[in-house]
Structure formats: structure tokens, C-alpha cells
């Protein structure tokens, strides 16, 4: 007999999730079929969810503010005997029981092999799990005599991967062996809500910050690992294989992460920095005497610091789990530094509070320290927006990848003299100006094309007029 429960269903517009706006009833309430129980807000509409049963509400599984996905259990009704509801709860507990396994999933496919000498400290847990298994009421095919369940090591691994308990699989292999097909079939038959609840639980666990943050990107990276095998390149000539090490390896991982996680868009523009360049040349010597190099990048960084205050959504991070924007009230600019070993992003803290001479000194010092590998890894964390300047090496437009978990990065190309056409359609004029190409890549989940266009336009404005800019900030 099916337990009587209300699950969140697609309201019919291809919607996958909604937010519980309000809970209209309490546990223990008697309701009639058709009574409204919950108010759900989707990105299309706000809807009341009516009860599908008449009877007493045993349990409400959601609270206002919760985000629910299609298939999630919302409300359980007390049945005649009241058994099903309890059973559901018991299973829920079981699922969340092994609290430690979050990083690798819950691995219900693992079977304790009682005959094997188990390691110290594992026994209690194994026993507890075995006990729970025994208590489990409606097992499909109890295989009382068989333990451990006969299945090859590869099949057992598959079961763990698909979250299948071998004890619940109908074996079709010879002599009662569970084979891969049995496990796959069991995975397909697994009730949708079980799957959904499980993935949601995992998500929740992560939100709480446990386990260590380090585990999270790895689990995510795992999804990306299902990639096609490379061909044997030696068929076409000899090759050398070089292991990726240190910074190169980090860069490879972080860039994959950024590419996979962030829907990138890049906006390009040319900024007139003729006056800025003149100003820079005038003051370069003076700044140099104070120990800093007044580069165009320093001035761009300084301008950005002021601009980010006005554009908080470019100085942010996105939390997809909670669907929240995290707006940072500090302005730490990442500076991409090209070192012998590869790219390292150094961090300039609180650039908004530093005068330009100080920023120049800080940049000069940071670049040097990064190149000499003198910075501690902690110093490389916490940037809120990154600048990548390939200008000295040439090039104009490019598409930098956002430095995850930031939401935007500014690429600087090489500034150069260009003929700029002005005037109007009837009387065009040309003028030679010193132009700087800029490329702003941003996370389109957080900002739109118009935001990026405004951001670059205002940055251009600031850079065009150095005196005002440096006075204002």
C-alpha cells in the first residue's frame, strides 16, 4: 500500500523547483481533499497547493523559505493504521544516518561482509547498519541465507556508484549472482522521491559547511571527469608525456571549474586613455621615487576600486545552493601575475582606501613577491574581482575566464595610438588617440549585458578624466 503523501509536482510549465512561500496548516490538522495546504512560488507564479487526501496531517516536511524540487515530499497524511508514515520516517533517518559520507555519497551499495575481519572502530557502525537493514520492513526479495550477496567487485562498485543496496536487488545472474544489469535496473526503478530527497539532503549537508570546503569542488569535479578517452597519439608519431605539477595543475583545475560553473559572457570596448597616459607620464617619476611603478594597470585598478562600490553585483559571489548573491563590502583586487611556473593571482587588499602612489607601490611589490614565490597561500585568497593585463605582451580583445568564485574579471589588452573617427555622418573627423582595449568577462547568472556595458562605459569615463577620477576616490 502506498503511503499517503503530497509531493511537489511540476505545475505544468516545465518548472523544476519552487519556493515555499507559506505553510497554511499545522501537523495534526484535519483537512479535506481540496483544502489549500501550502503556497508555492515559482519563477512564473505563486500558487496554492491543495490537499490530495482527506484526513489528519502527520508531518509537514517543509518550512516557509525552503526551495523544493519536483518530486520532493511535502506533506505526509496519517493513514488508517498510521504505519506507512512512520516507516517513511525510519527510512529517512537511515538515509541520513552515515553522516560522514557526504563527499562520496552515501554508498548504500557497500555491504558489510561479516566474515571478513573488520577493522577496529568499524564494527559498531557495521553492526548498527546491519541491524537497521534487518529491521527494514518491506524488502523486496529477502535473501536470508545469502551473505554476502554474491556479486563481482566491479558490480559492487557500480552499486555504490548508483546508490543501490545489493540486498534489495533481484539477482538474475547464474546461481543467484547479482549482475550489472540487475543493479542498473534497480537504479531505474528507484522511486523518484527517494533519489530527489537524497540529492537534496546532500545539498543541505554542504550548505551547513560540513564536510570541509575542500571536499566540495572535488565532488563537483567528479562530474566533469566522465570524459571521452584520448586516442593513442603515438599512432601518428612520437610524443612526450609531461605530468602537470603545482601551479599548472592548479590552474588547470580552477579554469575547468570556472568554465563548468560559470555561464560566461565577455563584453569588449576601447577606452580613450590619451589624457590618462599623459597624466601617467607626468607623474611616473614622482611615484617611482616613492618606490612604485605607475603603470596603466595601476590606474585601472584604482578606477575599478571606485567603480565596484557603485556596482556591488560585480564585487560578489553567487551561491547556487541557497540561490543567494553574496555582496562583499570589501574591495580586494586580484592581479594575475605571469610567473616562470605559470599564472598566479596575487591580491591587493582594500585598494579603495589606498592613494594611487600606495597602490603603485603595492602592485610593484606584489608582482615581485609573487614572482619570487614569497607569498603565503593565505595571501592568495579572498580577492573579489580580478584584473588580467596581457597588454605588455600585445593583443587587444580576449576572453578571460572569471576567477571562481568571483563573478567578473577585467582583461586589459595593449594600449596603442589609433585613428579615431569622430564628428557626425555628414562631417566626419579623424583624430589620433591613445586607446586601451578592455574585455570584461562576467557571470551571466549575476549580471546582464546591459550591466556590463554600463560598467565598462563608466570605467571608460573615469579613465578618460584622470584628475577627476583621482580626486573622487
Amino acid at each position: 500500500m502506498m503511503p499517503r503523501e503530497l509531493k511537489f509536482q511540476d505545475p505544468g510549465e516545465g518548472i523544476h523547483e519552487g519556493e515555499i512561500a507559506d505553510v497554511l496548516v499545522s501537523e495534526g490538522d484535519e483537512v479535506q481533499e481540496g483544502d489549500d495546504l501550502l503556497v508555492v512560488e515559482t519563477d512564473k507564479a505563486t500558487t496554492e497547493l491543495p490537499s490530495t487526501y482527506s484526513g489528519k496531517i502527520e508531518k509537514i516536511h517543509v518550512r516557509a523559505g525552503d526551495v523544493v524540487e519536483v518530486g520532493d515530499l511535502l506533506v505526509t497524511f496519517a493513514s488508517g493504521a498510521g504505519e506507512e508514515a512512520q516507516e517513511e520516517e525510519a527510512q529517512d533517518e537511515e538515509k541520513s544516518g552515515g553522516g560522514k559520507a557526504a563527499a562520496v555519497g552515501e554508498l548504500p551499495g557497500l555491504e558489510e561482509f561479516e566474515e571478513q575481519e573488520t577493522k577496529s572502530g568499524r564494527n559498531a557502525k557495521a553492526d548498527a547498519k546491519a541491524d537497521r537493514q534487518k529491521e527494514k520492513p518491506n524488502r523486496k526479495q529477502p535473501k536470508a541465507s545469502e551473505r554476502p550477496i554474491p556479486a563481482s567487485p566491479a558490480t559492487r562498485r557500480l552499486a555504490r556508484e548508483l546508490g543501490i543496496d545489493l540486498r534489495e536487488v533481484e539477482p538474475s545472474g547464474p546461481h543467484g549472482r547479482v549482475i550489472d544489469d540487475d543493479v542498473r535496473q534497480a537504479a531505474e526503478e528507484q522511486p523518484a522521491d527517494k533519489e530527489e530527497t537524497k540529492s537534496k539532503k546532500k545539498k543541505k549537508k554542504k550548505e551547513k559547511g560540513a564536510p570541509a570546503e575542500a571536499a566540495e569542488p572535488k565532488a563537483r569535479e567528479k562530474q566533469g571527469r566522465e570524459r571521452p578517452e584520448l586516442p593513442d597519439f603515438e599512432r601518428w608519431g612520437s610524443v612526450e608525456r609531461q605530468p602537470l605539477r603545482g601551479i599548472r595543475r592548479q590552474t588547470a583545475r580552477r579554469m575547468s571549474l570556472s568554465w563548468q560553473e560559470i555561464p560566461h559572457v565577455t563584453h569588449h570596448d576601447w577606452i580613450d586613455v590619451t589624457d590618462l597616459e599623459r597624466w601617467r607620464r607626468e607623474h611616473a617619476l614622482q611615484i617611482e621615487e616613492q618606490g612604485g611603478q605607475l603603470s596603466l594597470m595601476v590606474l585601472v585598478i584604482k578606477a575599478l576600486a571606485g567603480l565596484l562600490r557603485r556596482y556591488p553585483r560585480f564585487n560578489a559571489s553567487f551561491d547556487p545552493a541557497s540561490q543567494e548573491l553574496i555582496l562583499k563590502q570589501y574591495y580586494h583586487l586580484g592581479v594575475a601575475v605571469d610567473t616562470e611556473d605559470g599564472l598566479v593571482v596575487g591580491v591587493l587588499r582594500n585598494v579603495d582606501r589606498e592613494p594611487v602612489a600606495q597602490v603603485a607601490r603595492s602592485v610593484t611589490e606584489l608582482v615581485e613577491r609573487v614572482r619570487n614565490r614569497e607569498v603565503e597561500s593565505e595571501e592568495l585568497r579572498g580577492s573579489t574581482f580580478t584584473v588580467s593585463n596581457v597588454g605588455p605582451l600585445g593583443g587587444d580583445a580576449f576572453e578571460p575566464l572569471v576567477n571562481y568564485p568571483e563573478v567578473a574579471i577585467l582583461g586589459m589588452g595593449r594600449a596603442r595610438l589609433q585613428q579615431v573617427v569622430g564628428g557626425d555622418l555628414d562631417s566626419p573627423t579623424t583624430e589620433v588617440r591613445y586607446m586601451l582595449p578592455l574585455s570584461l568577462s562576467y557571470d551571466h547568472r549575476v549580471n546582464d549585458g546591459a550591466d556590463a556595458a554600463r560598467f565598462l562605459r563608466d570605467l571608460g569615463q573615469a579613465l578618460r578624466d584622470p584628475e577627476t577620477m583621482l580626486l573622487n576616490i
Binding site: 554508498l107 557497500l110 561482509f113 554474491p150 575542500a214 565532488a219 605539477r245
Partner: protein, 473 residues
């Protein structure tokens, strides 16, 4: 000082078989790996002063014994001249070759190998003490693979003449009178080596039989053999006092049948091993130990500290090299987010004595302890043509099967080449094979691997080389 990264994704402490297996797997899965070992050479106890050198010496023992006993078959050899230093060089050469191979593999893969003592400063940082200074490394995950060390007798530290297994393998000389304390596999293997080289070996064991972990029927042929090879074996005998003099060791015993001899040239103490978990500053982490000092781990080999894993001897279990290697892979895969778990059903154990003993899966003893019904089928090697030509008629192959399903649950072997034969048993158990599978797989004739096939046929009550009535249940 060595170039130390300030951050690593996976920090592995210990360069033994567990440590390098974990390192190689982790790096193959795309992680950045730093392996810290106190010893400049990779390989740990197993390679440097355990499995490998002892097997080299046992090979010599077998050669000596075989040539000595060839006279029974009509071949008479002169007593051999033993050049101990050349023998040591050969043994060391074998070890060195393997160390070089490992070092090259580690280098090729890009593992950062550091020679230092590592201690935890927190759940994310470890202190590294080098000969010429110290450093700190941050890690996302750590794997403790520090192994174990021999236990000394109470109040009797190891000394010049009171040796542990490592010292005995150094082969300082061939003592005229050697006392071995402990009738486990180390005592039996080293006793065989020294007896074959000419020492008079006395072995004392506290329990009432040798090799407590193996089934008695498998130990019997070995017990008979060592009784003739050794000078004396005293069971249920404890050592109550050991005094090391300049030229000898004086020993006091307690028991019903104590050795009449109390003066020995050297003593080998082989009474067990204890985990190297005490000098890691685990108090700085959330890692917990059990009452015997073994690190508590779950099925992923994760400790009670989410970021830290433990594998091999330090995490308990059967304290076998191949167990550690397998666990190393499990831990690294779990860290990478793969659905890995330690779910071994047949962990092989091998004792390299003459005759060899090997077993895997369930033993009769463990079945009894767990109150598990099993069908036991023994095939004596005196019915095997190949065994007779090998002079191994005392051998025995034993199958433990499920009385209902015929599933193979355990395999035990005593006799020549048991080390290789056991692999068939492992595969059969892991694949969930039934007796008939083994009986219908053709074995080459004449080989000792045939004995497994013969045993399976006997279990099905259709034996070929023995009479049906001799089938024991």
C-alpha cells in the same frame, strides 16, 4: 632545504606500500600529491626490511634445504660454503632495484617526495621537520600511512643480541644458538631461514599452537616440518626474563615444558606489531584511536576527522602489505569523490615457510566463531601426482562452501606454491563463484592448481583422484 609547496591537495605521510599506492592513485586521478616519509628510500618496512628481503632469504633457505634433502632422491651434494656478505649484497641488491623502480615511478608521475618527519598542527596543516630546518604545509586531505613497528618483550628493549625482525634480516651472523620468541609467521619464516643456514633454533610460543590465525589442519604439516628443522619448539611457554651479556643472552622461561637450554647467542622477538600512531600529534586533529592505538576508520578509510584518512597497519586489520596497497587506492579514490569502499571479501594471507600456507575468505575458525554453517572439503596432496614429484605430499587444499548454494566462501592451502594457488581462491570468492564453477574449470595436469579443481569435484561428491568416502564434511 628541500623545496616545500605551501599547499597540497593530498598529503601522504609514510612512504611504505600503502603510502606509495595511495600517492600513485591520487596523482593518476588528477590530484596534487605530496608524500612525506621519514626514510629517504621509498618502500617502507615491506620492501626495505620485511616482505621482500625475507622472501629473498627464504628462497636461499629453500635451495639449501632442497639440496640437503636431495640425497633421499639419490643426489648427493657437498655441504655448501656460505659467503654471508655476498648473500647480504644479493639481498640488498634486490631491495635496491625495487627502490629505484619506485623512485622512478614517483618521479615520472610527479609526486612531490619529501624526506622529513611530519606531525599535525591542525586538521589542515602539518609541520615538516627536515634535517636542516622545518616547514609547514597546508593540505586539503591527508592520508596517514605510517605503518607499525615490532613490539618488544616487557622490560626488555631490543639490543645487539635481542633482535626484532628487521635486525634479524640484516643477517649480522649465523648464530649457533638462536631463540625465537613467537610462533607467528615472522618467527616461523625467520626460523626456517636461520635453521637452513645452520643455526640451532629454539622456538617458544605462549599459545598452545603455532600460527594462531590459520586453521589447525593447515598448520599441522608445517608444525611437523619445523619440528624436524628446528632444535626445539615449546608451546604454552612464556619468557619471564631476558638478560643480555657480552657474548650471549640468558633467558628465563615459564611453563609446563620449558626449554632445558637457557643461554643463546641471539634472540629474535617476533610477538607482534604496534601502530605508529603515537608520534603524529593526532591530538591536534579530530582523529580518534582505538584501545590498541590503531586509527579508527570507516569503509572509505576516512578517520573521525573529515579531512584525514588512514590506511595500512596504522589503521589495523590484518597488517598485510597488500591490504595496505588496496586501502591506499580506496582512500585516494574516496578523496577524489569516487564511490570507493573497502569491501574485500577474500583478503589472502600467505606464510612463506616450507611448506607454504595460504588462505583467504572464511576460515573454519572464523566460521565457528560466527556460528556460520559451512561445508568443508579437503583434498590431500598425496593424491596429486604433481605434489608427489615436488616432494609436497603432506600438502592439503581445503574449500569452505555454503551448504545450500555451494558458494565458495573460503580457501585454505598448505604445500608448495600455495602463494600462487591462493589467487584462484580469491578470484572465485570475489566473483561469487559456486563449487560447480570451479569443478567445471579445467585444471592443467599435472599441476598443484589441480588440487583446487579436485577439491571442488570432491565437494560435489564426484571426486576423481580420491575415493568418494574420504570426502569429509
Amino acid at each position: 632545504m628541500t623545496d616545500v609547496p605551501d599547499h597540497t591537495e593530498v598529503l601522504i605521510i609514510g612512504g611504505g606500500v600503502g603510502g606509495y599506492a595511495a600517492a600513485f592513485r591520487a596523482i593518476d586521478l588528477g590530484m596534487d600529491v605530496t608524500l612525506v616519509s621519514e626514510e629517504p628510500r621509498l618502500g617502507g618496512v615491506c620492501l626495505l626490511r620485511g616482505c621482500i628481503p625475507s622472501k629473498a632469504m627464504l628462497e636461499i633457505a629453500e635451495l639449501l634445504i632442497t639440496t640437503r634433502e636431495a640425497s633421499e632422491r639419490g643426489i648427493e651434494f657437498e655441504p655448501p660454503n656460505i659467503d654471508l656478505s655476498k648473500l647480504r649484497d644479493w639481498k640488498e641488491g634486490v631491495v635496491e632495484q625495487l627502490v629505484e623502480g619506485l623512485t622512478a615511478l614517483a618521479e615520472k608521475r610527479g609526486v612531490h617526495v619529501l624526506t622529513a618527519r611530519a606531525t599535525f598542527e591542525s586538521s589542515e596543516t602539518a609541520k615538516l621537520e627536515f634535517d636542516d630546518g622545518e616547514d609547514t604545509v597546508r593540505f586539503d586531505h591527508a592520508i596517514i600511512a605510517t605503518g607499525s613497528r615490532p613490539i618488544a618483550l616487557p622490560d626488555t628493549p631490543f639490543g645487539e643480541r635481542i633482535m626484532d625482525s628487521a635486525a634479524a634480516l640484516e643477517m649480522p651472523d649465523i648464530p649457533e644458538r638462536l631463540l625465537i620468541v613467537g610462533g607467528g609467521y615472522v618467527g616461523l619464516e625467520m626460523g626456517t631461514v636461520y635453521a637452513s643456514l645452520g643455526s640451532k633454533v629454539t622456538l617458544v610460543e605462549m599459545a598452545d599452537r603455532l600460527l594462531m590465525r590459520a586453521d589447525q589442519d593447515l598448520v599441522e604439516p608445517l608444525a611437523k616440518r619445523v619440528a624436524s628443522l628446528f632444535d626445539a619448539i615449546h608451546l604454552e611457554t612464556t619468557v619471564t626474563g631476558v638478560e643480555e651479556a657480552d657474548d650471549a643472552v640468558h633467558v628465563k622461561f615459564e611453563g609446563d615444558d620449558t626449554p632445558s637450554q637457557t643461554t643463546f647467542d641471539r634472540v629474535l622477538v617476533a610477538v607482534g606489531r604496534r601502530p605508529n600512531s603515537d608520534n603524529l600529534r593526532l591530538d591536534q586533529t579530530d582523529v580518534e584511536l582505538d584501545d590498541n592505538g590503531f586509527v579508527k576508520v570507516d569503509e572509505h578509510r576516512r578517520t573521525t576527522d573529515d579531512r584525514i584518512y588512514a590506511i595500512g597497519d596504522v589503521a589495523g586489520g590484518m597488517l598485510l602489505a597488500h591490504e595496505a596497497m588496496h586501502e591506499g587506492g580506496v582512500a585516494s579514490e574516496a578523496i577524489a569523490g569516487e564511490p570507493a569502499a573497502f569491501d574485500v571479501r577474500a583478503m589472502p594471507a600467505v606464510v612463506y615457510t616450507d611448506p607454504q600456507i595460504a588462505w583467504c575468505g572464511l576460515t573454519e575458525e572464523s566460521a565457528k566463531e560466527k556460528n556460520r554453517q559451512v561445508k568443508v572439503t579437503r583434498f590431500p596432496w598425496r593424491a596429486s601426482g604433481r605434489a608427489l614429484t615436488l616432494g609436497s605430499a603432506h600438502g592439503l587444499t581445503k574449500l569452505l562452501t555454503d551448504p545450500e548454494s555451494g558458494r565458495i566462501l573460503g580457501v585454505g592451502i598448505v604445500g608448495r606454491e600455495a602463494e600462487s594457488l591462493i589467487g584462484q581462491g580469491v578470484l572465485a570468492i570475489e566473483m561469487g563463484a559456486v563449487t560447480e564453477d570451479l569443478a567445471r574449470s579445467v585444471a592443467a595436469h599435472p599441476t598443484v592448481s589441480e588440487t583446487l579443481h579436485d577439491a571442488a569435484q570432491a565437494a560435489l561428491n564426484r571426486p576423481l583422484h580420491i575415493a568418494p568416502k574420504s570426502v569429509q564434511q
